[in-house]
Each structure stands twice: as structure tokens, then as C-alpha cells.
Subunit: 121 residues, 2 copies
DNA sequence: CATCTTGTTGCAATTTAGTTGCATTTATAA
DNA sequence: TTATAAATGCAACTAAATTGCAACAAGATG
């Protein structure tokens, strides 16, 4: 991957905050810095490189978040949307893949909503 | 709710098969029987009546499935997409809401992929 | 340092899911 | 049978995401 200035801007964004960020949010934030197509493509590359992972949130919007360790396997942890502050974040707990009789489970997405610790304190 | 022929067609569809059906699928299947707007609106009514519930699948598509019992509260059970046969279904097990320290959990969506029992046997 | 190669970007056009307003139709209660 | 409110069809619209192609620029090579 070439270190273009657009790539650096996006990478920096994910290094600044831990939250999961929606593509729409990024496209708007950087609308004067880069084309929306570029945002989509860079995020796509980041995912393939194992830097980010993504999931579909409650609204059907795609969100990206940083991986803890570089890996190409999708991380298995819940994603949480706070109804109060609106931030979506990865919950750093290991969810054990549920075992269902007669099924083979390969991937698991867990999406939660409620109130986060910041908004409760 | 009036028993229109469009409503009966859709209701029949959900009575025929247990699987979760995407709106897109229904719009295509009944494109010569009713307008797509009608599909959206009838499904919306079914949900308000507690006949169906919905969730966003892996692709960001809205899917509807029958409720076991009539209720207006969202059911808490995992949804499963079989990679082989492509069907999405409700897994009839009770998922206990995960408890996360310092968080209040209100809703929980669990989306799984893998292979279903039909495809394994 | 200059130049070449190819990965990357911008732009415009397109696709697709989902929504809205309004005129018309139809289920059903009176 | 008729009135009326609910439901439908249609066309236009919004918004997310994708695609093709020409232009650009990172960084490797000489």
C-alpha cells in the first residue's frame, strides 16, 4: 500500500479514536480532502490488510473499527451502540461462539444497544 | 388490518416457510402481484401487529421472520445464515443478554453464519 | 536526479434499498 | 347499496454503495 496523504488522513482518524466509525461519517468529514469513492476504497484495503474490521450496524450502515492485533480473521466481540451519545464501540470481551446442535458456526456478530459507561457515570 | 389480496399473499408466504425473508426477495417474487411500496408497508404493519420481527443481515438487507408468539417486544434469539444453501433462519434458543460491567444492555442482535443442519446431513 | 510503472485517486454516472406524496381503489361497516 | 377510511399504485426522490475510465503521483529503478 502506498502511503498517500488520503490514506494517512484516514489511518490517523482511526488512531485518534477507538470508536467504530461509519463510512458516511468519514465521507462527510473528509469531503473537502478526498472523494467518497476513495474513502470506500481505502477502508476496503485496510480491511484486507487486517488493520480494520467492519460490521453492519442497526441502521444498516457499514462501520469500521481498528483491530487489536493484525489478523485476517474477523474478530469475535460484541459491538455496542449507546442510545444516549450515539457512539458505537467494540466491547473487549471474548464472546464464546454459541454451540448449536447440528450446526457449524463459522462467524458470529453480536450487536448491542443500551447505555455506555460514559453516559452512566 | 383489512384482508386485502396483497396481504394474504404475503402472509401465506411467511406461513409456507419458516425462514427469514428479505424484502428484496419478496418485492421481486411479487413484482407482478403488487407494488414494492405495498410490500414495504404490509411488512411494516405485520411488525407493528407482532406477527413478524425483523433484523439487518450480513449484507445490510432487512429481513423479516415470523414470531413464535404474538408479542410487540423484539424476540431475543440468534439469526443464522447458511453459507451453503443461503437460507437465513431464526435459531430457537434463548440467548441470555450478556452482562457487561458498567453498561446497560437494552437490545441484542446475534447474527451467525456457517452451515445449517440440512446442509450437513 | 530524472523517468517509468503501476497503484491510487477524482469524477461522473449508475445501481439498489428504502421512502414519500398524492390520486385512485377497495374492504368492510352502516 | 353506499359511504368512508384504509390500503394500494405510481412516480419521483433520497441515500448508500459501486463501477469505468482518464488523470495523477508514490516510490522503485537506472
Amino acid at each position: 500500500m502506498r502511503k498517500t496523504k488520503q490514506l494517512k488522513l484516514l489511518l490517523n482518524e482511526f488512531n485518534q479514536k477507538e470508536d467504530a466509525i461509519s463510512i458516511v461519517e468519514l465521507v462527510n468529514k473528509f469531503s473537502d480532502k478526498m472523494n467518497k469513492t476513495t474513502v470506500y476504497r481505502i477502508l476496503d484495503r485496510f480491511e484486507k490488510e487486517g488493520i480494520l474490521h467492519w460490521f453492519i450496524d442497526n441502521d444498516g450502515l457499514k462501520r469500521y473499527a481498528k483491530n487489536k492485533k493484525k489478523s485476517n480473521t474477523k474478530e469475535v466481540h460484541p459491538h455496542f451502540l449507546c442510545e444516549d451519545c450515539g457512539t458505537t464501540s467494540c466491547i473487549p470481551i471474548n464472546i464464546k461462539l454459541p454451540s448449536i446442535p447440528e450446526y457449524i458456526i463459522k462467524t458470529s456478530e453480536h450487536f448491542l444497544t443500551g447505555q455506555c459507561k460514559k453516559c452512566l457515570s
